[in-house]
Every structure is written in C-alpha cells, then in structure tokens.
C-alpha cells in the first residue's frame, strides 16, 4: 500500500449558529492514495462538502475544525493561513458543483486558468496564458486558443466545467477534490466530464476525492467509496465490495436493493423518514430512527466504524447484516 496523498483523521467541524452550535462533521476518517479515486457518497447535509472545504481551508471563519488533515504527510490544520493559501490551487485543488456561477463573469476563460499558473508557478502573463491554452486543450476544449479569449457567458455548461477542471489541474495538484462536478450538467456531458477526470487522473497520478450523491457515478468512476450519513462515515469499502455486499442499512437503502433473504424485518425499497436535526442529533446511531433493523443498543450507543471483512468497514451494531437477516 502506497502512502496516502490525503489522510483525514477524526475530523470534526462545528458551526456556531443562532440556535446553538451545529456539528456538521463528526469524527470522519478517510484516506486516498495517489492515482486513486475515493467517492464520498451521501445525501445533502451529510457533511461531504463541508469535509472537502475543511481540507481546502475554505470554511467560513465561524467554523471550528478539529482532528487531523494531512496532505502528503503534512498537517494542514497546523499550517499558518499564508502557507495554507500557497497549497490551495497548487498542491491541492477543488472543482465545484455549479459551473455556471463558479467562473468569474468579468474575466476570460484563459485569464482565469492563467491566474493559477502565475500564482503558483510564477509564470509571466504571456507564458501563463500560453500554458493556459495548452491546459484548455488538455481538457479537450475544441479550438482552445479562441475559447481562451472568450468569457464564461459565451461557453456552455460542460465547457465551463472543463475550464474549472483546467484551473484545478493547471498546477498538477497531488489532490483533487471534486464536489458534485457533474450534478448541474446534462447526462451525456456528465459522462464526458467524468471520463475526462479519470483520464487526467491516470495521466498525472493525482488522488481524487469525488463527492456525489449519485451511486451510478460511483460504480463507474471510483475505486473506493465512503458513505456518509449525518456527519459521520457509516461505511467504507472498495466500490466493488460495496455494491456486492453493502453492510450498513443506510447503504443498502441508498442502493435501493432489498435484501434477498426474506425475513420478519421487512424490505428496504426506499428510506423512510428524514435526516436528523444536526443541532440535536440522536445519541446513538444517527440512522437508528430510520433503520428497520434497529435494536435498543442502536438508539443508546453510537456504533464505531469497525472492520467486517478485510478493507471493509461499517459502523453498525448489527453487522454483519447477513447474519441478522439469516437469524430472523
């Protein structure tokens, strides 16, 4: 096993709100190896984006971040702000969900790519622009030299997301955080963008964290998966394992698959109920109120993330699930 590009240990993020503090991320641990893609899956509000923003150091000042975040072994949370800024866009980069609003309408596509090159590689304006055009070619923008001189409003949504990818990858980051990069795009464009990301990842050896709520995307584009629910990681496995043998009832629900062993504890077609109020989360397993398999212990005590099989972790008192279903 290679040294991970990104290691997150016991990350917690708390926001002070008018109605008390809110713990959006609670004890999350993850890691991604160079050249691999980790998909982080979960509903909105599960803490996926907040975790990514915590890595980048882009959370608002009101956020309190705890735990450890290491990029190539370097503790990011211990860095002074100026040093962290120098890492952003250089060693680590991020792509956002909304290509329509993520580019500045007042500057050309080329200028916005060149800017990153000037900051991190100290290129002169003309050299940076030439490099930006080359970068736009690498993200397969046709007629890149002309497009580089155009403004965001003259580009399609897919093209804008390609520009965003070009900005992110311009300085060859070791880590790329992609926060729902295709959610706002047409289905056909989605596939193109994800294929492009995969290709660039193989070329550069960048570690990718792909945040998504779309399990279809995970199956095709990620090697590893972490499922998040209400600020915690509830299951971690390779993509193949997760789809073949989901262990956490929430993952099972997400997959929309009913357990084949018919038992007294019912079928899971969709997940009943709603995400808990994060200001006042349930004391035990946060999924317990919605879980068809919940027992008294689930409500009282939070389950730790534990290994059920080599490389397969789940946070469930009732794991392995097959046993529960078999016994019933």
């Amino acid at each position: 096993m290679t040294v991970p590009a990104l290691t997150i240990e016991n990350l917690s993020v708390e926001f002070a709100t008018d109605r008390g503090s809110l713990r959006a991320v609670d004890g999350v641990s993850l890691s991604v190896a160079p050249g691999r893609t980790l998909a982080v899956v979960g509903e909105s509000g599960s803490g996926k984006s907040v975790s990514a923003l915590a890595v980048m150091g882009l959370l608002p000042g009101s956020a309190r971040v705890g735990g450890h975040i290491a990029l190539d072994g370097e503790d990011l949370l211990a860095l002074p702000p100026e040093a962290l800024r120098a890492r952003r866009g250089g060693a680590m980069a991020m792509i956002f969900q909304e290509p329509m609003t993520s580019l500045n309408p007042a500057f050309t596509a080329g200028e916005q790519v060149a800017e990153a090159l000037r900051v991190h590689r100290g290129l002169a304006p003309a050299a940076a622009f030439a490099e930006a055009v080359a970068m736009l070619e690498r993200v397969r923008i046709p007629d890149a030299a002309r497009r580089a001189r155009q403004y965001p409003h003259q580009l399609s949504g897919g093209m804008r997301q390609r520009v965003m990818i070009a900005i992110a990858l311009a300085c060859r980051p070791r880590l790329l955080l992609a926060d729902e990069p295709t959610t706002a795009l047409d289905v056909t464009v989605q596939a193109q963008i994800l294929a492009l990301l995969g290709q660039l990842k193989r070329e550069t050896g960048t570690a990718v964290v792909l945040i998504t709520h779309d399990l279809g995307v995970v199956a095709d584009h990620a090697e590893d998966v972490a499922v998040m629910y209400a600020g915690r990681v509830v299951e971690r496995a390779s993509a193949a394992t997760l789809f073949a043998r989901p262990e956490h009832p929430y993952t099972v629900g997400l997959l929309g698959a009913a357990p084949r062993l018919t038992g007294g504890e019912g079928r899971l077609a969709s997940i009943e109920g709603t995400v808990p109020d994060m200001r006042n989360p349930p004391p035990g397993c946060r999924f317990a109120p919605r879980c068809p398999f919940a027992i008294t212990r689930c409500v009282a005590e939070p389950p730790p993330l534990a290994e059920v099989a080599p490389g397969h972790m789940t946070a469930c008192w009732r794991a392995p699930l097959a046993q529960v279903l078999g016994a019933a």
């Binding site: 882009l58 120098a86 890492r87 866009g89 250089g90 980069a93 580019l103 500045n104 991190h120």
Partner: protein, 315 residues
C-alpha cells in the same frame, strides 16, 4: 459598436424634445412678468412695456415663442441674456469650467473616501472597522452642506487661517491658489456623496463576496487582496458606477447653497440669479445644458458598463 452608438444617440432625440417642451412650459408657470422687471423705473409706462414685449417676442403666441427658441438652439444660438445683455452660450461657457472643476474635485474626494471605505466595511463586516465606516458614512450623509461649509470656514479660515474663506481663482491663473479656493467647497459637496457611495459599495461588495466565483478564486490560492480587489470589486462596480455618474451629474448641475456660501461663481449661482430676474433665455439655456450633460454622462456610464461587464459588449 458604431451601430450601437448611433442607435444610442438616436434615442436621445425624443428625450431632448420632450425636455425642451418641459423647460419652456414650466417657465411660463413662474409668476411674475419679465417685462415689468426689465422696465425697472419705467414700469408704469405702457408704451415701454409694449416695446419690451415686442422686442423679446413676449407678445407672440406661446408656440411661436417656443419654435423660435428651439430653432435657434438647434443652430447653436442659445439667445441673449435679457438682463446682462450677453450671449447665453458665453455665460454658460464661462461658468461651466468653474463648476466642472468643483464637481470633479468633489467627486474625486467622494470616490477616494467612499469606495475604499465601502470595501473595507464589507471585508470587515460586523467588526469595529465596519461600524466605524458606517458611522462616518452616516455623518457624511446627514450633515447639511451649509452647516458643514460654515464650520469648515470657521475652523480652517478663521481659526487656523490656512485657507481663504471665499472667492475663486481659475485653474489657468494659479494652480495652487485655485485648489485652495475650491478644496473646502469640494470637500463639503464630496462628503455626502462619499457616504452614499460607501453604502452602495459595501452592499455590492457583500453580494459579490458571497458569489461562487469568489470561492473559486480562493480555491486557486489567490491572496485575499487579489480576491477582494480584483475578483469581487470588478463585479461590484456596476451599481457603484451607476450611482457615481448620477451623483457627478448632480454636482455639475450646480451646487447652489455651497457655491453661495463660498461665493464660487459657478452654474448654481448663474441659474439662481437668472430665475430671480426672470431671465428666461438664461434659465432655458442653463437647464438645457444641464440636461445635455446628463445625457452625455449616461452615455459614459453605458460605456463603462461595457468595459466592466463583458456580457454587455455584444449588442
């Protein structure tokens, strides 16, 4: 671009026609007979009055008077002042540079204070710097010009003796003298506008700073200075430019009270004197010139929008 300019200028024509009718019509509603005022001592003599009326076309029907005036204006003839016996155009060209200098200085002061303060206040939202900037802006907006003017004269001219309390020296005569005679009235005029500009800059910057592209700029690893002054400010400028051109237009239209306090012989004084003397050609000429200035400024504003926002460039 040329097509756009031509279309834009064509739009101005109906505006100006409507405006000329309004200027002419409103003036007719003013009480007082110009002939009586011009006759002076001889106002009792009906023959003199009739003579004056005939000379000034006041005995013709209104529409004839109007067409006569408009016809002359189109050829560049703004008429003669009834009172001072000088061409209106010359009067305007005499006073306009004075007012232009005063307005430019006031505007410069307003922009140099208002815009940076608005940016500072947005980036330090809900912190002491924000409260201080808001306090200063409120002070600038709510301070009456005449009071601030008098207080400044008392402090800088009477107490300290640093600046002349009144009068005006043209720029062409002596640069520093000219600046020292106009700096106080310019500050008085600029302070209120600085406050308004600060409030608008703050609001526009707060909006811009919450946009996704600002997060992208930060994610690129740009310094906060570049994020604020390049990425956010560029987009926040549009409402500030709109307001700025309107305020500049209002400054050029004359600052009656302030010019009075500092005895600056500008546009404001010209129009007040003309109204009191029922000097119709001067009133009409000055108001029309002001309208033309506004039309020109709104054209400048449009050009600035296009420079700032590339989306407005294709048309």
């Amino acid at each position: 671009m040329l097509v756009w300019l031509a279309r834009r200028l064509a739009q101005v024509v109906p505006t100006l026609i409507l405006l000329s009718v309004m200027i002419f019509g409103l003036q007719q509603l003013m009480p007082g007979d110009p002939a009586l005022i011009l006759a002076g001592e001889e106002r009792g003599d009906p023959q003199v009055l009739a003579q004056i009326r005939a000379e000034l076309w006041l005995d013709r029907p209104l529409h004839v008077q109007y067409l006569h005036w408009v016809g002359n204006v189109v050829t560049g003839d703004f008429g003669f002042s009834w009172r001072i016996r000088e061409p209106v155009a010359r009067l305007i060209l005499q006073k306009l540079p004075v007012t232009f200098q005063l307005a430019s200085m006031a505007f410069l002061i307003a922009v140099l204070i208002g815009v940076p303060m608005g940016i500072l206040s947005a980036t330090h939202r809900d912190r002491p710097a924000d409260w201080l900037a808001n306090g200063i802006a409120l002070f600038g907006i709510s301070m009456p010009n005449f009071w601030l003017g008098i207080m400044m004269i008392l402090l800088f001219s009477v107490q300290l003796g640093w600046l002349p309390p009144s009068g005006y020296v043209p720029l062409t005569e002596d640069f520093w003298q000219s600046v020292s005679t106009t700096i106080m009235p310019a500050f008085v005029l600029g302070s209120g506008i600085a406050g308004v500009l600060m409030r608008h800059t703050r609001a526009a910057m707060l909006t811009a700073l919450s946009q996704d592209y600002v997060r992208t700029a930060r994610a690129k690893g740009l310094t906060e200075r570049v994020v604020v002054w390049k990425h956010a400010l560029r987009n926040a400028l549009i409402p500030v430019v709109t307001l700025g051109t309107i305020e500049f237009g209002r400054l050029l239209a004359g600052a009656v009270l302030t010019e009075q306090i500092f005895t600056i012989p500008g546009f404001g004084k010209l129009i007040v004197d003309a109204v009191f003397n029922r000097d119709y050609p001067v009133v009409q000429g000055v108001v029309l010139a002001t309208a033309l200035i506004f039309v020109g400024l709104s054209l400048v504003a449009d050009l600035l929008y296009m420079a700032i926002n590339p989306r407005l460039r294709q048309a």
